[in-house]
């Protein structure tokens, strides 16, 4: 695969990982694979912006070599230390050991603690400029978007934003630009990416975007480090980020449950019927059968969350517990919720999940619904009404 030109003398030289299906250990599923986007700027100073995941280092070197010998690289910009972007850095630095690495202080510390290379680090701060010849790079520190070391680079003359993980998507494709692909697929992956990675940092996302908007700089292309490059209407993804970061929602409910002997499942299905009949959008997930990355993605624009679990040893079941542990770390705001479940005797799961909702700041808008063993006709009707009542509050 040849390098792809973004603008005059700027090329995509990254790699497409078609087969990866999990990321960050097992915390994120990449159903559509991913890409590791690295960019080469050819000017008086040859500059590589980020690298790729280590196993794809040879592809990066091959692609750079199509344009210029890698020994000629003068500068490497490390926008983020994480190994999916820096894994091939040692391989690159072997080829151009005298290259200067431009990055934040935290990134310098992190790269050293990852690779222990004695490289020529140049620490940059927001507003610093780096003249490459005809083109000029400037930097904007973006701590916690999504690690403390993260930064955006901006190629002034081309109005090209290189924001690393921000605005990215795990999406493998033979195409590089958003005007060449099915954008609805790409947006699904952008939603999942934001929800699972950036949601907890939403308050910082709003501040950072507003800070950049105040700079009043033109933006022609946003080229993230994963997935598709936003070339057509690049501000669309920025506005989508603002909306997600402000925790804006629509009347939509996500129901997630775990069941032992299908009683809690019966309840879940009836609750969903009540929601559907109220005309509110709803998605139902059995936590054990579902892709949790996708479920979290669906929760991003939803106003209401309904969680159910059978009671086992006085507690909720363990896979819904794991799911809720991840969920509460995302710090969703302005959401309402309610809880249900079947139990044999004293119960426990409903109370426990309600406590998690309270800790997470989810407003409990109706009393939890508990049923002993298998729900009877009357209890099934209660489940339906439970769903209907909740749907009315979501509207």
């Amino acid at each position: 695969m040849k390098p792809i030109k973004l603008v005059e003398n700027v090329y995509w030289v990254g790699a497409v990982d078609w087969s990866v299906r999990k990321f960050h250990g097992h915390t994120y599923t990449t159903a559509r694979g991913t890409t590791y986007n690295a960019y080469l700027i050819v000017d008086d100073k040859v500059t590589l912006v980020d690298t790729v995941y280590g196993p794809f280092g040879n592809e990066l070197v091959e692609r750079i070599s199509e344009i210029v010998s890698p020994e000629k690289i003068d500068y490497v910009i490390a926008n983020h230390m994480e190994t999916d972007h820096s894994g091939a850095l040692p391989q690159i630095m072997k080829l151009c050991p005298k290259a200067k690495i431009y990055c934040t202080q935290k990134c310098k510390e992190g790269l050293y603690k990852n690779y222990y290379g004695n490289w020529d680090f140049q620490v940059v701060k927001t507003g610093d400029k780096l003249k490459l010849g005809k083109k000029t790079l400037t930097f904007i520190e973006s701590p916690m978007l999504h690690w403390p070391d993260s930064m955006f680079s901006y190629l002034i003359e081309d109005a090209l934003v290189l924001p690393n993980d921000a605005f990215g998507q795990h999406y493998a494709s033979d195409k590089r630009f958003n005007d060449e692909v099915d954008v609805s697929e790409v947006m699904q992956e952008a939603v999942k990416y934001y929800a699972n990675i950036l949601w907890p940092f939403s308050s910082l996302v709003v501040k950072k975007i507003e800070e950049i908007q105040k700079l009043n700089i033109p933006i022609k292309i946003i080229a993230p480090s994963h997935g598709i490059i936003w070339r057509k209407d690049p501000t669309k993804i920025v506005n989508a980020y603002l909306s997600w970061a402000k925790n804006e929602t629509k009347p939509k409910v996500v129901v997630v449950y775990e069941t032992m002997w299908k009683s809690t499942e019966k309840m879940a299905r009836k609750i969903v019927e009540g929601i559907v009949d109220s005309g509110v959008e709803v998605k139902l997930y059995d936590v054990n059968e579902s892709d949790k990355t996708e479920v979290i993605g669906e929760m991003l624009d939803s106003k209401g969350y309904v969680i159910g679990s059978s009671t086992h040893d006085n507690s909720m079941l363990n896979n819904i517990a794991g799911f809720l542990e991840f969920f509460k770390g995302l710090k969703p705001k302005n959401r309402i919720g309610c809880v249900f479940g079947s139990c044999g005797w004293a119960g426990g799961a409903v109370r426990e999940i309600e406590e998690i909702f309270k800790t997470a700041g989810i407003e409990l808008v109706q009393t939890g619904l508990s049923v002993k063993y298998v729900p009877d006709e009357n209890e099934i009707k209660k489940c339906y009404d439970f769903g209907k009542d909740f749907a009315e509050k979501v509207k």
Partner: protein
């Protein structure tokens, strides 16, 4: 902990990255001496780990929501 004046000094936690500001330790790398209460940190002080501003901190043990 108890400060020099004998008053109780609370720890504060960054809700973004989890860093805990301990007044007993301060943040000497950024000119904050040990014994500085969280409330007395300058307004432009930010989390030394992640850069979050002061308003992103919660008192440790403070109930949320």
């Amino acid at each position: 902990m108890t400060g020099l004046s004998g008053e109780f000094m609370e720890k504060w936690k960054c809700t973004i990255c989890g860093y805990i500001y301990d007044p007993a330790v301060g943040d000497t790398e950024h000119g904050i001496n040990p014994g500085t209460k969280f409330e007395n940190l300058p307004d432009d002080w930010v989390c030394p780990e992640c850069g979050a501003p002061k308003d992103q901190f919660d008192r440790v043990g403070q109930p949320v929501g």
